[in-house]
Amino acid sequence: MTVDHVQPFAELGLTPAEYETIVDTLGRRPTDAELALYSVMWSEHCSYKSSKVHLRQLAAKAPRSDALLAGIGHNAGVVDIGQGYAVTFKIESHNHPSYVEPHQGAATGVGGIVRDILAMGARPVAVMDALRFGPASAPDTARVLPGVVSGISAYGNCLGLPNIGGELDFDPTYAGNPLVNALCVGVMRPADLQVAAASGPGNQVILFGSTTGPDGVGGASVLASATFGDGASAKRPSVQVGDPFMEKRLVECCLELFAGDLVVGIQDLGAAGVACATTELAAAGTGGMLIGLDAVPLRDASLGPPEILMSESQERMMAVVEPGRVEEFLGVCAKWDVRAAVIGEVTDTGRLVMTWHGETVVDIPPASAADGPVYARPLARPSAQDALAADDPAALPRPADGAGLRADLMALLSSPGLADKSWVTDQYDRYVRGDTVLAMPEDGGLLRVDEATGLGIAVATDGNGRYCRLDPYLGTQLALSEAYRNVAATGARPLAVTNCLNFGSPEDPAVMWQFAEAVRGLADGCAALGVPVTGGNVSFYNQTGTVAIHPTPVIGVLGVHDDVRRRVSIGFGPAGDAIVLLGRTAAEFGGSAWAHVRHGHLGGPPPAPDLDAERRLAALLAAAAAAGLLSAAHDLSDGGLAVALAESCLRGGTGCVVRLPGDPFTWLFSESAGRCVVAVSAGAEAAFGHLRDANGVPGETIGAVGGDRLDVESCFAVPLAELAATHTQTLPALFG
């Protein structure tokens, strides 16, 4: 090795300009360890360098909310839900690892998001997963899907977190790039809020949890082989392996540390491991830190500083602790069999310094690594967008009679994206902790927070890649609207938003245009609905070769339920209850499930969101639920009224008879936004009518609950047993 050898910055993913910036910042060549640190901190995943300029508007346009205790920029946002409780939630992607190694990729995705929630000071109380795969019949889907589901099942169940909802969809666009987005929600007292900052010179820095191994340090081997010659370092695995039992102990250990007020600052270790935790803690705190890398407990003694810094070994946390409390801290760790090591201390030097075998291997201003570059990447609306918009589904052949409508409904119900998802959800524990009030296949997950008062929280996630492909601005607002509506359908008031933005390469101007439009749509949508974005995650480079996935922002909405005993299920209940369709129905089929399933068609404009109507609908649903007027409520989305009615019949185990007010095809399969079907309890019709008028929500009574068929008068009828058989056969037939 000579001083003029070219450092392998390109292999580590840094551009020549980025490398020059590092050299300028330090006034010298970076050491291997520094180069490793900057390369992971300035990766797209950690630095948000391509997305930051757009994401700023999420905070800038956010509606004022007194409920927000911690917003964008923290490990996760925190909202006050009243009665002395605060809730934190966030959704994050683990797409690429889940494609390479589905079981471990998905499992560690759950583990990572749970530690984000834990780091805020909250007890994690539930998870959800939004999953998207290639065609259900594709051979590779049979490899990826069962592995992803078993990974989520193994990790989440062993950790003791109920899985209360999520999504499952299929599209050829995800064939080489499945989307595995994991959401976690946690509950705390507002005073328990923790900060991710290393404050107070002399305070001790403690690394605790699993030992550090060579997991996920594929990049570091580039460094080693480039400087020491091939063979000096084995190729490292790039997918991490999870240990949920370790994570369970880590969760209980952290909560006991918080309860004992033993922590000044805390950060979870995720992507970029020790590099990220030390730079972010230092940059957000007093500014300096001295770390002895020799003190990091290793599970592979051959690791050197670059690998230790980049390792993504799971189930680790880093805490800042006052010197006088260290002994007590270590005692709590010992109780939970959690390994802990003091690896350094906070300083006021303004420098992050790390030593190894007595030598200084890192000496940098931490903010330079934590802040990272910012790029305003070129963006361009793709020319094909016009042709796509012009290809209206109005031209597609429609069913001619009742038998045709019936066949379309059955085709939709048995299509993989709309079929019964028990094959997946039966592998998840939805009962643990005993507070799950609603879970799949309900519109939203609903958890009890306080047993005495019935206070609870509802969470839903939604995304629709087809709508977003047609119009990313409107498509994102439709995803937001749907999640908002799903939360409202349980009787909860929507309060806050999280998001996981899954896109192709930011270096492709067409993708960057999709991204910019989606973020603008989200920011405007949240402003219109009065719900702030509290945090989220961006996943770029979701593409196979040069072909990007459909732009797929997945939006999570959190709501507060004043009394979960007044929850509303999607399942139809007592016979005779009037069925009312709320909202306006127009002939909107662009990006619809009908066009997709029956014609493999994607074109035309997506349905038009009406955010003001969504607000009024949500207010009506919350008020009606609180007054106990509803026996069921189900949001209308993919597959329109036809699929919603079938799902409500199947969930409740009872039929219904409906009469359509206009063109049956439009009323059955249109996907107009802002709609919900409700069943009104006997005797509550007048009260509900007044409430509906007062909230300015259009609606009409279309039938009544009862019987053992889904009966669409003068069109068709399907016995419940046939509906159930059609709905439930698909996934078991595909995946065993």
Partner: protein, 222 residues
């Protein structure tokens, strides 16, 4: 009346078991795996979860926990003990109950609300039911297939030590569709389904599971 709930590292349904105890009118007492102390509990529950991560074999490590050195002789002396799911696995590993729990026939974790038939309503934990009662309780496990050698199975059947059976088919390949068994004295009961998740129709499929906890409360009070 005090009912102990043991927390092992990796126990998950300890909180739910404690809630069920409260709803049945008794006082839950937290017991720690590392303490050789039952804290004067009148009965003890080993809750569901993944003690020690289910590493090696479900329940195989937990049976050596310090608290078990107190529990095993107390159970042999007649203390009412209930093992739910992982707790059942631990009781089998500790030889307080016969047989073993093995991987589900379908090889997948199963969460499902199931109908169970109460076969023995004379145990410390099932006295609130009548023989032949059908109850709806969730099952949630990956290694819930009950297995024992033919002689043991025949003995269980002959002595009426099968406490519960799956009533609608056999979800996990259990021998003779057995969902729960007891010891000869009827004070130690183990079952794979989770009665503590069926104590309130708000959060469970029914309140049918409350009878397990009510049984022991009535029995000890009597």
């Amino acid at each position: 009346m005090r009912i102990g709930v043991i927390t092992f590292p990796g126990s998950l349904d300890d909180r739910d078991a404690a809630r069920a105890v409260r709803l049945a009118g008794a006082e839950p007492v937290a017991l720690w795996h590392g303490d050789r102390d039952l804290r004067g509990a009148d009965a003890v529950i080993l809750p569901g979860g993944f003690s020690y991560g289910d590493y090696l074999r479900c329940g195989a490590i937990a049976r050596f926990a310090p608290v078990m050195s107190e529990l095993v002789p107390a159970a042999r002396a007649g203390l009412p003990v209930l093992g739910i799911c992982n707790g059942f696995q631990i009781l089998c590993e500790a030889h307080l109950l016969p047989g073993a729990l093995t991987r589900n026939a379908g090889l997948k974790f199963i969460t499902r609300d199931l109908r169970l038939r109460v076969e023995n309503a004379r145990t410390a934990w099932t006295r609130a039911y009548s023989g032949g009662d059908q109850i709806v309780v969730p099952l949630k496990s990956g290694e819930g297939a009950y297995a024992a050698d033919p002689g043991t199975l025949a003995g269980l059947e002959a002595s009426g030590l099968v406490v519960l059976r799956y009533a609608d088919g056999n979800p996990n390949g259990s021998a003779a569709a057995i969902a729960g068994v007891c010891n000869a004295a009827g004070n130690v009961v183990g079952l794979m389904p989770h009665p503590e998740h069926a104590v309130d129709s708000l959060t469970g499929p029914s309140a049918d599971g409350l009878g397990f906890f009510a049984s022991v409360v009535a029995g000890v009070a009597a």
